[in-house]
Symmetry: C2
Subunit: 420 residues, 2 copies
Amino acid sequence: MTTDYAAQAEQMARRARLASRSVAVASTRQKNEALAAIADALANQAAAIKAENARDLDAAAKAGLSAAMVDRLTLTDKRIETMAAGLREIAAQDDPVGQVIEQSTRPNGLDLQRVRVPIGVIFIIFESRPNVTIDAAGLCLKSGNACILRGGKEAAFSNAALYRAIRSGLVAAGLPETAVQLVEAADHAFVGAMLKLDRWIDLVIPRGGERLIRAVVEQSTIPVIKHYKGVCHVYIDEFADPAMAAEIALNAKCQRPGVCNAMETLLVHQAQAGRPLADLLKAMAARGVQIRGCERTCAVFPDARPAAEADWEAEYLDLILAVRVVDNIEDAIEHIARYGSAHTDAIVTADPRRAEEFVRRVDSSSVMVNASTRFSDGGEYGLGAEVGISTDKLHARGPMGIRDLTTYKYVVRGNGQVRT
Amino acid sequence: MTTDYAAQAEQMARRARLASRSVAVASTRQKNEALAAIADALANQAAAIKAENARDLDAAAKAGLSAAMVDRLTLTDKRIETMAAGLREIAAQDDPVGQVIEQSTRPNGLDLQRVRVPIGVIFIIFESRPNVTIDAAGLCLKSGNACILRGGKEAAFSNAALYRAIRSGLVAAGLPETAVQLVEAADHAFVGAMLKLDRWIDLVIPRGGERLIRAVVEQSTIPVIKHYKGVCHVYIDEFADPAMAAEIALNAKCQRPGVCNAMETLLVHQAQAGRPLADLLKAMAARGVQIRGCERTCAVFPDARPAAEADWEAEYLDLILAVRVVDNIEDAIEHIARYGSAHTDAIVTADPRRAEEFVRRVDSSSVMVNASTRFSDGGEYGLGAEVGISTDKLHARGPMGIRDLTTYKYVVRGNGQVRT
């Protein structure tokens, strides 16, 4: 059985590698045609897609999945239209492939360029939301990559239906069908076998919970870019404008609590820990936020539950907020270094030197001054559609757009130069 | 024993992480002072370094290592001066840390910057040549990283002596001693334990043979950038100038055969496979190169030995050359895709369309047109001192200079913006 998986996985990976060589040199027009054709196919096949989605929803109901989970799985006409619109937006983006990043003429006359090229073959592993199937395929295609997609088993029928739309779009545009492949086997062993094929696959992007990501990182010999958790902080500095601080903190926690760039821990300079903090926490509570605070927080806001160590590390993805009063900015920075996930951290302050110290010392993919952590997002950064937010440091950090699905090569043009 | 290693490795890694937070914000001046101080220490401690080196050379002789190996291990006054000079050159390079890579003002008024920052903690595993200890430490320091170095056991005493020079330089400049640490344990289990510490170490760079690199890739949960082999090609196209082709081919094979960017396989368009090829191979043979050729090569140059499959895959690092006659450029590109290591591949041609097709389709870290593969080098590219040549596609590809030892973070400055 294991041998079967290894052979099947290798066959899939080799096909992807072969397809990638065509996609890498496909013209911008051909890639955009494919994206438009897939968008059309989604519209044309919407009824079939919803029928297949209904099979997943049935199974989800029988399996007793939560209402939130079922909602994430559901494909409505609106959501199908949004997927199609997303593909058209990707088509409208500039093509990163072939861009000259740098050029110089060397002393010996050699013309040296660093040119953007596709990464090659990308293996994307994700859970739950079926629209990732379309988003990921679109981004990989536009950036000239072949991809292998493996969605959550709860969305198996939906993903298969979406994949049929993808395939018809590829064929219509004259691109290899294997430019996008879907892993249908639910077995972890198949994914495990795939993760060893660094000869054919250039990058793995796991999107999902901690357990999935750890499992991928431990098994993979292929480079991995992780979209890990977001334990994001807002630090209200000694010199913060209290009104601005409150607005930012409320926005960062409450505007969309279930996403990775929502604030999970509020740090407050002791000078701001009196009335301003009490008012802020009242406003939080009024929006349904449960407060878990350090001793000084509980003293100011008795409705707070005492925080434990686990609260500083927690990514709640919910209307729960950990709050800690700190003596100074150094302690705030120290707390973030110790408990943060290097995702997004913000300071609210009117003092430029405090702002710059925070910016310099906080080692996160995004550091904000006087802005909500919720801006840590590909669309907000002007990167266009986003594959996800990398919490890694290598290759791509923060929101990953299509440019991050490329690498570069050096191109040297001479007229016979040799090394002496 | 294993538990001891795990604990020791973690302690070392945590110290590196702590030190990295200081090195990351060290001023350019302080870092340059450290580099100068280490260079001075090398000069002052030269006698002691050579004495320790002699102990390694003794052991090498007793162990029966080859003359070439012993030569690689030997530290002469000249080589010590070269190491020191290398550090002074690194000090003279621009500091990449803090550079603003991109800046934009978003529609909502947010100021967005992508800023260069150190990667953090880098674990470098290398074999044989002790000067890598100094080069690697210097490059990591200047780029604001802490590093953990693990050299070859044949150079254990030498590396320890060089490390003492490094440490005195760090102390003199007021940087943490643990900004550079040396792994002295020869046991693979220690390295294996270190490779799991992705919580504290951000990057592993293994430099050495295939076996070392595979072992690292398989065990590591930390991102790896590999410096793998160089199976480099020169393709003499139908429209090549034969004199230019010969000069480039001879240079690429013979100028320094033992390095990764030396040509290993020569591909020749059938139209160039008559007299020009025979003359070229005679010239190669006159320089001591052993030719291993396909049938058509052997027909033209009977002194050639028939090539086997293994010859197309071989990295000889010696005066041996595999030669294959191809029907057309597509077959040349196909051969490179199949047998190459994506390091450096060159075409010699006077036809711009052939040149561009080769450049477009060959997926290597460096692609040359009418220039020797020997130019694939950090110094030649103007990148300054080189950590090595990455054969990977992610983060850094081709020659890695100090800029490649950095990553970036997003810095967002607002005046109270929140997401709606």
